[in-house]
């Protein structure tokens, strides 16, 4: 991972059209501003992880597999 030090008010650029600015830093965390083309998807990583995890959970055992899957769960 590339690690860059930035002070409040300083920015960095990703490619030609994405700008990330460090707006404020506090004990609670950092406030980050992002300028990017409208079509760029920007998600908190936890949300993406939750989406993927929900999709995995929704695939659940098939009806015929439920008993076997639960036997595995219940040991």
């Amino acid at each position: 991972m590339l690690v860059l030090g930035r002070r409040t008010g300083e920015s960095l650029l990703i490619g030609d059209d994405i700008e990330i600015e460090l707006l404020a830093v506090s004990a609670q965390g950092a406030k980050i501003g992002i300028r990017a083309p409208r079509e760029t998807v920007i998600l908190r990583k936890e949300l993406k992880i939750t989406q993927l995890q929900n999709e995995s959970a929704a695939r659940g055992p098939a009806v015929s597999e439920l008993e076997r899957a639960l036997a595995k769960l219940q040991g």
Partner: protein, 154 residues
Amino acid sequence: MSCVQTKYFGLLEYREDAVFEFPGGLPAFENEQRFVLIESPRYGPLVFLQSLETSSLCFLALPIQVLDRNYRLAMGSEDLKTLGLDSKRQPELGNEVVVLGLVSVQEDEPATANLMAPLVMNLKNRRALQAIREDSLYSHQHPIEQRGMEGGAC
């Protein structure tokens, strides 16, 4: 009484006041906004969250205390407001809210539960959401300890 075709239990009757409303759905399932909780002594403490929109969508879940008896909620004030809860404090588990961890059971992999983004369901107004934590205290793939499944401390 209304009826729903469920994924695992055939046709089930439910009362409207048993429905949980997820105003924003769940991440990746934003259109799924109405669910009923199915409990069966046969499978306890496991519970089933059946979608009322899609018969084939039924999540498996465990009460959060069964997964980690010391679990501490850390809901943001926006999430608390969405559920109509006091936004200055965390709700009481079991009393004000039911909190569940969604379970993933995949072929050839150990079963896990998502403790990073628990489902929080307000028992008073039946509103619910998936509360994604902003800290990193809990895993989204928490291994389910089989010992913890015994007894069914709901």
